[in-house]
């Protein structure tokens, strides 16, 4: 084996499926001088790839994961290592049957073949199953199993064939050198390599390697138990590696997968078992491999009974030939960790990626490193999504412990975490708590979603409840009542989770011009709402910028996107120190005061002139309330008159009290994020990053293109100009649900979001770029008397009055296009906000 080179363009650490696909795709994209290093031997270095079950169930509710999986499956297919065998998710409970109906919607969204099947049909597909205990199942003919080790070799050979790659096995990383916050070199037991980029694709060891550079990759190695049972005559007689569909026994969190003459039984039902990356045994110390740890049989015994119940004929006689506690990577939110680390420039993470999404994620990382952003929006996989508190080992373990058993669980789209709560709290938390706030988490903050103290408003406003438990879960009719009270009187909204960045210095204006679509070179005291784009013209962020002085700008962005936006801004700062960046999120808290009586309320506690003339819409001014030093920003995400009131954190409590006391005369109500984030927003057609806005769509399609384009250059300008010349492939529309009655159950149902929008007869709608129409946000519009949906629609359907359908729980409900573009469905001329 040749010696290590002294220099490389990029060093990729890890030769599992992820590292291999990264080097393959980097080479394809023109990268050369790629060096790949692994501590173990090839082709199986001993990481999680080596013991993976290697099967792919493509259907996922999460779009990003579904797309990554689909791309991966196609890549495996192209490499000739994909064996299609089909798969069935079986249901033992009525709740699971409902969940499988929901899966049908997701399958339709992402164009994956799926059918509900009866117990008898399952028996036909899997003759050795005990169908007596099943209520039904979902059959996915495209489920496949892959040879991930062979795929890895093909990726490497592809890169080697291009003269782009040198791979060094049996080489251990001892350190990563950095210089001025940037990677400089890797140090190995066989020498040192200077490199411009380093990619950590080390699976369960990634946190340990990242720490060598002072960076964090928040994942934990966790055990997934599996046993291999055989020989089983019916499987042996098939003469195939996979003659029968893979069965996921969803209610017991288990799967049964044929491996030639035996059956692999795997489980996500056992207690969460975590390991530390520093304590995983080395290849030499491990009996099998570092990630195949001793089987802890006690943890699996209950699952044996479940497996025996499902497949008694074949499992009762066969022997348990192999059993391991296989290690895999878990993250706090069960999504991968890709992108540049937030701590060290040019240090990239490609971690917490499973076999089924490996090649697709490898491609995304390579594109990201090459073009500045991947084709597929990596929003939910971006490693920059975590705040510092969420990068701690305690948080990672607590959240992983909570979601491990939900791997096959039924997870509600609005479901809240139970662990690691009360970690970020508003200074006036005690006040909202006393008002009976029901808290949802927003970027780790406890944010009131509705207030139980508002329960009497439900009767007052005659708000209808929801009859189905699923639709009512993590929801309350109080939300709609709060909404109506705010529209009639005035509401106070806890906006403490707002993320606040200040940019100062002589280069600040030019820098922000380069970052944003809309012109930020406005008068002091004015503000701009603007998208931020990727180079290819898709959405990277949307946020609001206030100009506080000639060389002083304040950016306000949402709690969910704060860390991602922070990383984007920081990595684009000029090198010449002409712009100073400061994260003031913890310095200020914000209270929103909105409603027709908002001006009366706020004016009652200050002499500052708040009239429309003195304080017009979109402007910001410092205002003192007695000795409280506030800044008021006249803007609204709920579409009503009022202000965002920013005060130093330590004055948050007195400010809340002042407003609350004064508000009593005006009938003030505390209003939760159910209104702020959904009902108020959707009535006004306001777009949300991660819901409507993603990098696959551009401002023209989202209805956010302004009449003119600023002269200044900005990221994504060329693509944006081009998009303005074309007819949009799809336009974001607001739709109304015309009939809520379920044909099956005869009761009213309410979609939760991400359901397919179809033709009235249920055909998929796809735009000319191949993007399906689906619900980006669903929510009540209490002031409109309608339940509203937002969805991108291609031109032939994006016509007001068009009848379409939404597919919810495998049933069609009629909907109608109410608004094409960004005109609000409620108060289309914004008269209320600008009153």
């Amino acid at each position: 084996m040749s010696d290590l080179p002294a220099n490389a363009r990029v060093v990729v650490i890890g030769a599992g499926i992820v590292g291999n696909s990264v080097v393959g795709h980097l080479a394809d994209l023109g990268w050369r001088e790629i060096v790949q290093i692994d501590k173990g031997p090839l082709p199986n270095p001993g990481g999680s790839t080596g013991h993976a079950s290697n099967f792919i169930f493509p259907v996922d509710h999460n779009k990003e994961m579904a797309m990554l999986t689909l791309d991966s499956q196609r890549q495996y297919e192209d490499m000739g290592v994909n064996v299609t065998c089909g798969g069935i998710e079986v249901a033992r409970t009525p709740e699971r049957m409902e969940e499988l109906r929901r899966r049908m919607s997701s399958a339709k969204n992402w164009d994956m073949e799926a059918h509900l099947v009866s117990p008898a049909e399952i028996k036909e597909l899997v003759p050795f199953i005990n169908e007596q205990i099943l209520l039904g199942g979902a059959y996915y003919p495209t489920v496949s199993a892959v040879d991930s080790l062979r795929a890895g070799t093909i990726f490497r050979e592809r890169a080697q064939g291009l003269g782009a790659l040198q791979t060094f096995a049996n080489t251990e990383i001892l350190g990563i050198e950095t210089h001025r916050g940037r990677v400089k070199a890797v140090v190995t037991d066989r020498g040192r390599i200077e490199a411009e980029f380093i990619v950590i694709a080390c699976g369960v060891w990634s946190p340990r390697i990242a720490r060598m550079a002072g960076a964090t990759i928040p994942l934990t190695p966790a055990v997934h138990q599996m046993i291999d049972v055989g020989p089983i005559p019916i499987l042996q007689e098939s003469g195939k590696e996979l003659a029968f569909p893979i069965v996921r026994d969803m209610d017991t969190y288990m799967y049964e997968r044929q491996t030639a003459g035996s059956m692999e039984v795997g489980s996500y039902a056992h207690r969460p078992i975590f390991h530390s990356p520093d304590e995983i045994p080395s290849l030499a110390e491990a009996r099998l491999s570092p990630t195949e740890l001793p089987f802890t049989a006690d943890d699996f015994d209950d699952q044996l009974e479940d497996a025996l119940e499902l497949m008694p004929e074949i499992l009762s006689g066969a022997e348990i030939k192999y059993a391991v506690n296989g290690l895999l990577s878990l993250t706090p939110d069960a999504m991968p960790l890709i992108g540049e680390t937030v701590e060290v420039r040019n240090l990239w993470s490609a971690a917490a990626i499973w076999i089924k999404e490996g090649p697709g994620t490898g491609r995304a990382v390579a594109e990201w490193m090459t073009h500045g952003y991947p084709d597929l929006d990596p929003h939910a996989s971006d490693i920059a999504r975590f705040y510092p508190y969420a990068r701690t080992e305690r948080h990672v373990r607590a959240r992983c412990a909570e979601h491990f058993n939900k791997t096959y669980g039924i997870v509600h789209p609005r479901e809240q975490w139970a662990s690691e709560r009360n970690k970020r709290m508003s200074p006036f938390h005690a006040r909202t708590q006393a008002l009976g706030a029901v808290y949802f988490e927003a970027g780790g903050w406890e944010r009131p979603h509705w207030y139980e103290s508002n329960a009497p408003l439900v009767g007052e406003y005659a708000v209808e409840d929801r009859p189905h438990e699923w639709d009512r879960r993590w929801w309350s009719p109080i939300q709609n009542a709060e909404h109506l009270a705010m529209r009639e009187r005035v509401g106070m909204v806890d906006l403490s989770p707002f993320v606040i960045f200040d940019f100062t210095g002589p280069g600040a204006a030019n820098y922000l011009q380069r970052m944003t679509v809309n012109n930020v070179d406005v008068a002091v005291g004015r503000s701009v709402y603007t998208p931020l784009l990727t180079e290819s013209g898709g959405f990277k962020a949307d946020l609001t910028i206030m100009r506080l002085d000639d060389e002083h700008f304040r950016v306000i962005t949402g709690a969910f996107d704060g860390p991602r936006d922070r990383h984007w801004f920081r990595t684009h700062l000029p090198e010449d120190a002409s712009v100073h960046f400061e994260d003031l999120t913890s310095a200020f808290v914000t209270i929103g005061v909105w409603g027709p009586k908002a001006r009366d309320l706020v004016q009652s506690i200050t002499d500052h002139d708040l009239s429309n003339e003195a304080f017009p819409y979109g402007s910001t001014q410092p205002v003192d309330f007695g000795s409280i030093n506030a800044r008021l920003f006249r803007i609204s995400y709920v579409g009503d008159l009022g202000w965002e009131i920013y005060v130093p954190s330590e004055q948050g409590m007195p400010m809340w009290d002042r407003l609350w006391e004064a508000g009593q005369a005006f009938g003030v109500v505390p209003v939760g994020a159910g209104v702020y984030g959904t009902t108020g927003r959707i009535e006004k057609g306001y777009r949300l990053m991660g819901a409507e806005l993603e990098s696959e769509y551009n401002p023209v399609e989202a209805g956010l293109a302004r009449p003119r384009v600023k002269d200044a250059e900005f990221i994504g300008k060329d693509a944006y100009l081009k998009a303005r010349q074309e007819e949009p492939a799809a336009t974001l529309c607001t739709l109304t649900v015309e009939d809520h009655i379920s044909p099956r159950d005869g009761i009213k149902r309410y979609p939760t979001g991400r359901e397919p929008i179809t033709t009235p007869s249920g055909s998929r709608i796809v735009d000319r770029k191949g993007r399906p129409s689906y619900v980006t946000t669903a929510g009540a519009g209490p002031s409109t008397g309608k339940f509203l949906l937002m969805s991108y629609l291609p031109p032939e359907h994006a016509v007001e009055g068009t009848d379409l359908a939404v597919m919810y729980m495998n049933e069609l409900y009629p909907v109608k296009v109410a608004v094409v573009g960004s005109t609000p469905f409620f108060d289309p001329k914004d008269e209320r906000m600008k009153a």
């Binding site: 304590e279 995983i280 030499a284 044996l304 025996l308 006689g317 022997e319």
Partner: protein, 254 residues
């Protein structure tokens, strides 16, 4: 036919064995535990004999409370009863171990009858003293042979085969007797799912091991210097075939 198998819980290490800081034991933090391959075969042999001649198989061990795991494994593949002599966790020397086992066996025989055949592994996988079986046999006054790779019971005798370099020795022992078997006598089965579930519920007769003085004291463990392995590439592609054949011949595989 009453059959007894004695086993010992030992760590199942990888290629490199780490010691605890005080060098008194193997660092087993990341290791699983097992019994020696010889003992696995002894359990299997007892179960096969039971299948032929009827009767019951008892499996016995002296060790920490955790050694219950090894007894349950034996039950999962077909043993009927399990007896655990609980120690404080330290590794007892062969003399003390044998004395405690013999005492417990004598007790069991007094209660339920003599064991026709007691099987042990040829030696333990960790300390490899080759002593416990012989000492137990001596204490109980039974004949014993070791290194056995074939067993048959007929007319009150057990015949035992031992392979030497160039011949096969066959011993005939009157029952009750003891035999120390070697790996290769059979291919042990794995547990079935119902077997594992049965083992989970099985009762393990657990009692403190009677402490006896032993004559052997361990000072410390030493790890031998790591053996350097070298890789010789015999060739590539079809050209490598003659060299491979030569090697196979040298190894006696052809």
């Amino acid at each position: 036919m009453r059959l007894l198998v004695c086993v010992k819980r030992v760590p199942a290490p990888g290629a490199r064995i780490n010691l605890t800081e005080d060098a008194q034991a193997i660092d087993a933090r990341h290791l699983s535990f097992t019994v020696s391959p010889h003992e696995e075969c002894a359990v299997e042999e007892a179960i096969r004999l039971k299948e032929i001649h009827g009767g019951s198989v008892t499996v016995m061990t002296l060790g920490p409370a955790e050694a219950e795991e090894q007894l349950r494994y034996a039950v999962s593949v077909g043993a009927d009863q399990a007896a655990l002599l609980v120690t404080n966790g330290s590794d007892w020397d062969p003399q003390a171990t044998a004395a405690a086992l013999a005492a417990r066996i004598a007790e069991a025989e007094a209660a339920d009858g003599v064991f026709d055949l007691i099987l042990v592994g040829n030696e333990s996988a960790d300390s490899g003293g080759y002593q416990v079986g012989v000492r137990v046999a001596h204490t109980l006054g039974r004949p014993i042979v070791g290194g056995i790779k074939g067993l048959a019971i007929e007319d009150g005798f057990v015949s035992a085969r031992r392979e030497t370099g160039s011949a096969v020795e066959v011993y005939r022992l009157p029952l009750p007797a003891m035999v120390a078997v070697k790996e290769g006598i059979n291919l042990p089965r794995y547990p079935t799912l119902p077997g594992r579930l049965k083992a989970k519920k099985a009762e393990v007769a657990s009692a403190p091991a009677s402490a006896n003085p032993g004559g052997l004291v361990m000072n410390r463990l030493l790890t031998p210097a790591e053996q350097k392995t070298t890789t010789t590439i015999l060739g590539r592609g079809p050209e490598a075939a003659p060299a491979v054949v030569d090697l196979f011949e040298e190894l006696g595989l052809l």
